[in-house]
Amino acid sequence: MSQSENRKPILRVDNLVKYFPVRAGVFRRVVAHVKAVDNISLEVYEKETLGLVGESGCGKTTAGMTILRLHEPTSGRIIMNDEDTTHLFMPYFQARKYLINTYVKPFEDLKEKAGSVDSAIKSIEDEFDVKMAKLYFEKHNGSKSSFISDLMSDREAKRKAFRRQSQIIFQDPYSSLNPRMRIKNIIAEGAIIHKVASRSEVMARVADILKKVGLSEDHMSRFPHEFSGGQRQRIGIARALILNPHLIVADEAVSALDVSIQAQILNLLNDLQEEFGLTYLFIAHDLAVVRHVSRRVAVMYLGKMVEVASKTELFENPLHPYTVSLMSAIPIPDPTKKSKRIILQGDVPSPINPPSGCRFHPRCPIAKEVCAKEEPPLQDLGNGHKVACFFPGEMKR
């Protein structure tokens, strides 16, 4: 909360949008878009775990993949370690266009409106934008071409740095390891791509990391099919760790595992976070798991962020009707606590054609007229508790 304000965000996502085209017909014309992620913003602070939770089709996985640029974003800005990384993976001309539209044009407009460079910079509130404006006006004297060539230089090296800093752990321990590669080669791949050490040093590191994730050196020359689901998930974690990343996106990392194995992996992730100072973006559909691992939690519904808060705040005082019903829907493993449930009606609508206004309004028990017409903004109600609802807190458990 106030603590998170002081901490630096390691990852910052502004207005991220990812649409997937739906093609049809002989000419493969785009007939519609799957609006998987539709304008979400979030921050992940250093060494914390942000839980990103929602039901299938809410866009949480797409968000994670787009942040890591396994999908190219449709629009938005992704800042990592105080560096804009959005333009790094774009084709050259698109990257140029992005830089002009995001920085050069707005800065020039501001300068014109404010009359001088100094007052223009002063009128910018966002810290990162101030930094970019200073870079533009002061270091490059307002020269578009020099500003752009500065940001466009060494893109390959910057891309590689980004890959080293951010890694992913997948859901399916069966599909996430190449069945025809030995464990040591699977884990070593990252280190070899980035040439961080000689081959023998890399192998020593692989052995070391295997021990850290609870496997042994003897496993190095085996193939993935010789391992159980939980062990495979450990191998996947080892692969993500080899490059010493800062940020790990864990995409449903324990959903496919049995209860007893799930606990092992959750404890392991926790230990590794402490040991290596990792930051997790933990994507999951299981609210109980998210509660266990996260410091802050973000709830998504149909491509939108509906609520963000610290864990204690969210679980004690959920404000969005969707969050409330989601919590109420989960069966509690305690037969003496059979509570009456809020049962949401209907299914999650299609992200191709989402409802107008608040996307949750067709299923919302407290929806009013305004909810169908206007989209509620994500507002901060204090203490970093943000919610996108016109009637926050009006629905009680």
């Binding site: 606990a263 404890n267 798991v289 989960i330």
Partner: protein, 337 residues
């Protein structure tokens, strides 16, 4: 509980003959199901919970074989029935719903066709009546506009709606016993809540007994009255739901309950059940849980503990029930993997 059970399974053994050897998927499992109650079978993948239900329904594939034990339904020995008699029994007396309804529904027939077919198979009605009954059934399981949906194909329905259709189909002949094999595992939680609610309502209305097979302790706590905990083809604990959750006696049950994160409370560390589920081709000697049990002694490694009644209605298979308190210490120590 002194009335006669509807289903009585005694010492059931189901073996699979694979290329690698014999898999004793279910090895001496006993339990009873009474009319109108819900029995939960809980366990992790490979514990034999699904195979148990398939054995009772006699739906094993050609590699599987019931190698021993008795299955009595309403006093009748199911193993002695002819295939034809068994076929009549399925659907009429007992039915089943699966985790992924898409695989259980035939993609080339409409929902209506499939329910109508089930009705025509078991009831002496004409086609028109059967269709009306199908539409009624769809309405009862909460499918909106059943007159329209009855002519839709399975792929046109969402996951939740498909599971409703599957339930409609299995209940169309008013069975006395319904096996539900992970019926909500593939569904989102808000849809799961709908389906669980629906099952409870239908049970009230039709009075069928339900065998709820799941890995989810939350679903068990919500739905079941009595619970069977299975591990590696064996029943390790058997009790009514409140007793089981309040006072688990088997180290495995205790471990499971402490391994899950809870929505209603914070836990610092989850209990680690160390190791992995043993290879079904090569189960450990003695107690099958001994490789993962912090209380295991030499006795556990050599002699198999019997399932004994500790108090009325509460059975557990462990040599060291009195030492379970030690588990708490083990977990406090925050032992690693």
């Amino acid at each position: 509980m002194d009335k006669k059970p509807l289903l009585e399974v005694k010492g059931l053994k189901t073996y699979f003959h694979t290329d690698d050897g014999i898999v004793k998927a279910v090895d001496g499992v006993s339990f009873e199901v009474y009319s109108g109650e819900t029995l939960g079978i809980v366990g992790e993948s490979g514990c034999g919970k699904s195979v148990t239900s398939l054995s009772v329904m006699r739906l094993l594939d050609e590699k599987g074989e019931i190698a021993g034990g008795e299955i009595l339904f309403d006093g009748k020995d199911i193993r002695a029935l002819s295939d034809e008699e068994m076929r009549k029994m399925r659907g009429n007396d007992m039915a089943m719903i699966f985790q992924e309804p898409m695989t259980a529904l035939n993609p080339v027939y409409t929902i209506g066709d499939q329910i109508t077919e089930a009705i025509l198979l078991h009831q002496d009605v004409d086609k028109e009546t059967a269709r009306k009954m199908a539409i009624d059934m769809l309405r009862k399981v909460g499918i909106p506009e059943p007159e329209k949906r009855v002519d839709e194909y399975p792929h046109e329905l969402s996951g939740g709606m498909r599971q409703r259709a599957m339930i409609a189909m299995s209940l169309s002949c008013n069975p006395k016993l319904l096996f539900a094999d992970e019926p909500t595992t593939a569904l989102d939680v808000t849809i799961q809540a709908q389906i669980l609610e629906l099952m409870l309502e239908l049970q009230k209305e039709y009075g069928m007994a339900i065998v709820m097979i799941t890995h989810d302790l939350g679903v068990i706590a919500e739905m079941a009255e009595r619970v069977v905990v299975m591990y590696a083809g064996k029943v390790v604990e058997y009790a009514d739901v409140v007793t089981l959750f309040k006072d688990p006696k088997h180290p495995y049950t205790w471990g499971l309950m402490n391994a899950i994160p809870r929505l209603d409370e914070d836990k610092d560390v989850l209990y680690n059940i160390p190791g992995v589920v043993p290879d079904p081709l090569d189960f450990p000697k003695g107690c099958r849980f001994n490789t993962r049990c912090p209380l295991a002694t030499d006795k556990c490694r050599t002699e198999e503990p019997p399932l004994v009644e500790i108090e009325p209605g509460h059975k557990a298979a462990c040599w060291h029930i009195d030492r379970l308190v030690e588990m708490v210490k083990v977990s406090r120590a925050g032992e690693g993997a």
